[in-house]
């Protein structure tokens, strides 16, 4: 493939918008994914993306703005999941399974019965760059900025409550508030990246960069930086491959991440495997 062919799609505004969104989405999911993986919340990320699909269908039916409707729906689901997880009154896996799959089922039922209000449900399920507008770019940039701000200014409380919530609480960290804020950041991130990554694949983009970064470092600070960079690279490369191979962007970004995972796994050998296995053992992550 020549350089001209590689650069050819850059003349199209939709592609440039899609590329920016994919790169930012990868970076955002990589950054937030570190906490998702280390707190064992990957099942929440997975479930939340499905839950938001219900909000998408409901907002289409009611004629409400997609981001407002699905956003409100997603935040409500996130807070319910967060509450269930903290209270441990019933099995959180089971509760999340019920809340999120029921929400997803509502979405499918509503779309089949009443239509999707002009939106293509397939693009939401698997990701699509054609519909990406300047507005989507700005929305994602705003969510990215908010997520970076939260993680920058709450770095120590977030780290402390992720590693050792009991002692963090004793040391003056409001762990319930920190967890709620993190869940909201997660919900906002999923909402903002869903159009490119797709409902079914968002969870993988949350998990893969974080796991790869964990294989490469033992330092939390470096893991945050590495996961963000790996996510951004996967988004950029995946989006280019998506255009040239004519495959939806979500699968290509995830497949690029899987290829990076395989390469790092081969390069780091047993050490990387031990680190990644430890994440799985302690958090139940890597389920996407």
């Amino acid at each position: 493939m020549s350089l001209d062919q590689l650069l050819h799609p850059f003349q199209f505004e939709f592609f440039v918008n899609g590329l920016i969104v994919a790169t930012l989405s990868g970076a955002l999911c990589g950054l937030v994914g570190v906490y998702v993986v280390l707190k064992g919340m990957s099942y929440i990320g997975h479930g939340l993306s499905h839950a938001i699909f219900g909000g998408f269908a409901a907002s289409a039916l009611l004629g409400v703005n997609f981001f407002l409707g699905a956003g409100a729906w997603g935040f409500a689901a996130a807070m319910m999941i967060n509450g269930v997880t903290r209270r441990r009154a019933i099995g959180s896996d089971a509760a999340i399974g019920v809340i999120t799959t029921a929400s997803f089922a509502i979405g499918v039922a509503l779309i089949k019965r009443y239509g999707s209000g002009g939106k293509n449900p397939d693009s939401l399920l698997f990701g699509q760059i054609l519909g990406v507008s300047r507005g989507d770019v700005w929305l994602l940039a705003a969510v990215m900025l908010a997520a970076v701000g939260v993680i920058f200014f709450l770095y120590r409380p977030l780290l402390f409550s992720t590693f050792d919530p009991e002692v963090a609480e004793v040391s003056g960290v409001a762990t319930a508030r920190v967890d709620a804020l993190l869940t909201l950041v997660l919900a906002a991130s999923i909402l903002a990246t869903m159009t490119v990554l797709g409902v079914t694949l968002v969870a993988a983009t949350l998990v893969i960069p974080a796991v790869v970064a964990r294989m490469l470092t033992d330092s939390f600070g470096r893991m945050l930086i590495l996961a963000t960079a790996i996510g951004a690279v996967c988004g950029f490369v995946g989006m280019n491959l998506s255009y040239h191979l004519d495959i939806p962007s979500g699968p290509m970004i995830v497949l690029t991440g899987a290829a990076v995972f395989s390469a790092v796994f081969a390069a780091t050998g047993r050490r990387g495997l031990r680190r990644a296995a430890a994440i799985h053992e302690h958090s139940g992550a890597v389920t996407a």
Partner: protein, 277 residues
């Protein structure tokens, strides 16, 4: 005066404290005072409320009856059981200790915070290990990292949950040595332990707990067969060796070994300590 403030030399005082998890009482009518510079061990069987007692002192558990008073502005720090720590979490020694810093919101520590961490790690014999991952340390070093994290808060009272659980004899000695040094510098310490001979017998003050306080006092005063049977619900003998109480499970002590023969007498000279002594 604030009614929840301790007074006199006490850092914290519990008055007739009862705590419940649901309808199940975990602590009943507990009175306890910890003064500046004291070193108190809390012993008792599993489920006796030792960890709940620490959590009540910290303010994480609120008593349903009674009061917890703390000296105004007292700084507490807590070291959890290392068995509950995720040793595979990606943190270096320095990152772990720096979690406890206060004030500054930026992700990276200030020069003075870095210097403080280095000073504490150096003091605890962990110099040059700042960049090491926490799993790459020995058991004693791992426990000292968490003590270092607690010390960064400059506490007046250090609370530790089973600091010697699951460690070997050498590590236990290391940890006790560090704790005695810190206590010598004026730090009050309350720790829980299951180890009556290896830890409790070496502490200046003991609290025997089984939901309620069975006895408090110097180890030689409370490590008696009566108190221990009341605390643990099992008969125990207390021998004396080199001036130290030595607690022996009476069943094991007198149990016949395979073949019907009684255990051979121990070659070390022991003296049985009667309850009245």
């Amino acid at each position: 005066m604030n009614p929840l403030e301790a007074h006199g030399g006490d850092l914290v005082r519990l008055d007739r404290v009862t705590c419940r998890y649901g309808s199940e009482p975990v602590l009943v009518n507990v009175d306890l005072a910890v003064a500046r510079g004291e070193f108190v061990g809390v012993v008792g069987p599993s489920g006796s409320g030792k960890t709940t007692l620490l959590r009540t002192i910290m303010g994480v558990v609120t008593p349903v009856v009674g009061s917890v008073r703390r000296t105004a502005g007292v700084s507490l720090a807590y070291v959890p059981q290392t068995e509950t720590v995720n040793w595979d979490f990606p943190v270096t020694v320095a990152e772990c200790v720096l979690m406890a810093r206060r004030g500054r919101t930026l992700p990276w520590p200030s020069r003075s915070e870095r210097a403080e961490v280095s000073r504490i790690l150096e003091r605890l014999g962990l110099g040059n290990l700042e960049r090491r991952h926490i799993r790459q340390l020995s058991g004693g070093q791992q426990q000292r990292v968490f003590i270092a994290r607690a010390l960064l808060r400059r506490p007046q009272l250090l609370l530790m949950d089973e600091p010697t659980a699951g460690v070997d004899v050498k590590t236990r000695h290391e940890i006790l040595h560090v704790l005695h040094e810190l206590n010598g510098d004026g730090l009050a310490i309350v720790l829980t332990t299951h180890d009556l001979n290896g830890v409790a017998a070496h502490l200046p003050q003991l609290v025997c707990l089984n939901r309620e306080v069975i006895a408090t006092g110097k180890s030689a005063e409370v490590l008696t067969p009566e108190v221990l049977e009341q605390t643990y619900g099992a008969p125990m003998d207390v021998l004396e060796h080199a001036g130290m109480p030595l607690v022996v499970d009476r069943y094991e002590h007198n149990a016949p070994v395979a073949g019907g023969q009684a255990k051979p007498p121990n070659v070390v000279p022991f003296t049985r300590r009667d309850a009245a002594s």
